[in-house]
């Protein structure tokens, strides 16, 4: 015979299980979410680039959106829901040390126009959020994180490596650039990368092919032969994973 205490334990266990399921359901949306962030900085406009990436992901079944000029806080608060998170824009340095990216905000007056998504540790303020303040499993359902900007995958002695940290926090695959990249090359790489993803090429193939193809397109126009810095494309995690069918990471 069950005692009253046993029934209580079973009820608690069932409730705990149900609670987990609810938490799970709130982060895994169907179709899976993809978010591409672009910006109109004073010297660079990546809004259409973000739209191109988003459009490619939309074609293969993601609930895909491009977001313009949002503060870093918006991405920080919502990216745990994303199967694919993608940023195209400027990297940032602090006292010369690479350490994250710039989110140019004209979307809301609640935050300053220049906001930072930073690697390393510190306290979140109205102008900056820190990757390390997110829990270690924050991106456990993220299939892919793309940080297309200068030094986004640079391993710095003070701030660490922004893109690698995303992988360490659970993203199955995280891609960035270890060096400086010419703006036009960076934008074309982003568009071409997501085109390859749409056609079911692996993330490793897509990132390398997009760098090579962009170099082949722009090197003759710019009178150069070095892919404009795209050779520094860096990938953490699975290079053989694919973006299709649309899904969350595991």
């Amino acid at each position: 015979m069950f005692k009253q205490r046993d029934i209580l334990i079973v009820l608690i266990l069932v409730a705990a299980l149900a609670g987990n399921t609810i938490a799970y359901a709130t982060t895994k949306y169907s179709p899976p979410r993809a978010r591409c962030y672009g910006f109109q900085y004073s010297d660079l406009d990546t809004r259409l680039t973000a739209k191109h990436g988003s459009d490619e992901l939309d074609l293969v079944g993601y609930d895909s959106m491009y977001l313009y000029d949002n503060p870093a806080h918006y991405a920080y608060n919502n990216m745990y829901q994303n199967a694919i998170y993608a940023f195209t824009g400027h990297g940032v340095t602090f006292s010369g040390h690479p350490g994250g990216v710039v989110f140019w905000n004209t979307y809301t007056s609640s935050y300053p126009k220049t906001t930072y998504f930073r690697s390393g540790s510190g306290s979140n303020t109205s102008s900056q959020v820190w990757l390390n303040n997110l829990s270690n499993s924050s991106f456990s359902e993220m299939l892919l994180a793309v940080n297309a900007g200068c030094y986004t995958a640079y391993s710095d002695s003070t701030y660490g490596n922004y893109t690698k940290r995303m992988y360490e926090k659970g993203a199955n695959t995280a891609i960035g650039f270890g060096d400086l990249v010419l703006d036009e090359y960076n934008k074309k790489w982003f568009e071409t990368f997501f085109w390859y993803v749409r056609y079911n090429y692996t993330f490793g193939n897509a990132s390398y092919n997009a760098a090579r193809d962009t170099g082949q397109l722009y090197d003759p126009q710019f009178g150069r032969s070095d892919w404009g810095g795209l050779w520094s494309v860096t990938l953490y995690g699975s290079s053989t994973a694919k973006g299709t069918p649309a899904r969350y990471g595991i």
């Binding site: 400027h90 710039v102 930072y116 400086l180 193939n205 390398y208 126009q221 032969s225 053989t240």
Partner: protein
């Protein structure tokens, strides 16, 4: 009565008008014929796919079905792939010429390094020759991908044509898998240069002009140079138009006004200076 002079003037006017009409019609016809000739030189999709199949054979592999993949972000190129996405072939729309091929399996294959750089170089050369590429007059560089690069398992050999220290818009890239020794990708750009390659503008002047166009010198401590500007002389090609240019690379960190912790934006900016006139040239326009 009609005035004789007026009548003659009227008739002369008609003759001139007729002549003008004839000239316009002739020019229109010439233009139409030119368009037809251009249209005929375009490779059809069928031709492009056949070319792609033959190119896959160059890699020593066979493929049954190849299809043109829509929406490729690079204009003027057919991107052709198989259903399993094992291959990607790029064919120039205007001529049907093969400009790139890659094998997904051989890009992805990771394993212990079994092929030396020297042997890989030989394999790359052999492949380039098999693909009908003449490497005479080319300089070779070997790209060093980082340990976390998606291409860390590849040797990349880049040959580019140089004449009198001028980088010409012709290059060949061959990637060889370090473990299997197989060709992972091949791409080429080949443009015959038809402009003089002796610059009127000296390198030092080109750097000054480029610096002035960015206003770097007047920004003082708002800009911290990562290294000195790098200048190279090359031929730029856009829409078939060639121009001898100084390509001046600036790498710097620009302070963000009011930025926290000395925040700055790392920048890589390439300014192109026409090597004959000194004008700043935007390769994107």
């Amino acid at each position: 009565m009609i005035n004789r002079k007026k009548l003659l003037g009227f008739m002369a006017g008609i003759v001139i008008l007729s002549l003008l009409m004839a000239v316009i019609i002739t020019l229109h016809n010439i233009d139409s014929k030119r368009n037809i000739v251009n249209a005929e030189s375009f490779a059809s999709k069928t031709e492009a796919v056949e070319r792609a199949k033959a190119s896959v054979a160059l890699l020593g592999k066979n493929v049954d079905t190849l299809e043109i993949l829509d929406g490729y972000p690079i204009e003027g190129v057919y991107a052709i792939g198989d259903r399993e996405r094992k291959f990607m072939v790029k064919v120039k729309k205007s001529t049907g010429e093969l400009i790139g091929i890659s094998s997904s399996d051989d890009i992805n294959a990771h394993g212990p390094v079994k092929v030396s750089l020297e042997d890989a170089n030989k394999l790359a050369k052999q492949f380039a020759e098999k693909a009908g590429v003449n490497l005479a007059g080319c300089e070779l560089t070997t790209e060093d991908f980082g340990p976390d690069s998606p291409a860390k398992n590849l040797y990349l050999f880049k040959w580019f044509k140089v004449n009198k220290d001028v980088i010409l818009p012709s290059s060949i890239n061959v990637a060889v898998n370090k473990s299997t020794g197989k060709i992972a990708s091949f791409s080429k750009t080949d443009v015959a240069v038809n402009i003089p390659i002796e610059p009127r503008i000296a390198k030092e002047k080109a750097i000054k002009l480029a610096d002035k166009s960015l206003g770097l010198s007047v920004k003082g401590n708002k800009v911290k140079m990562i290294n000195d500007p790098n200048a190279s002389l090359g031929v730029s090609v856009k829409n078939g138009i060639q121009q001898l240019v100084w390509t001046i690379d600036f790498k710097f960190i620009e302070a963000i006004p009011g930025g926290e912790d000395g925040a700055g934006i790392p920048r890589f900016v390439s300014v192109l200076v026409d090597a004959q006139t000194g004008e700043i040239f935007d390769p994107m326009k």
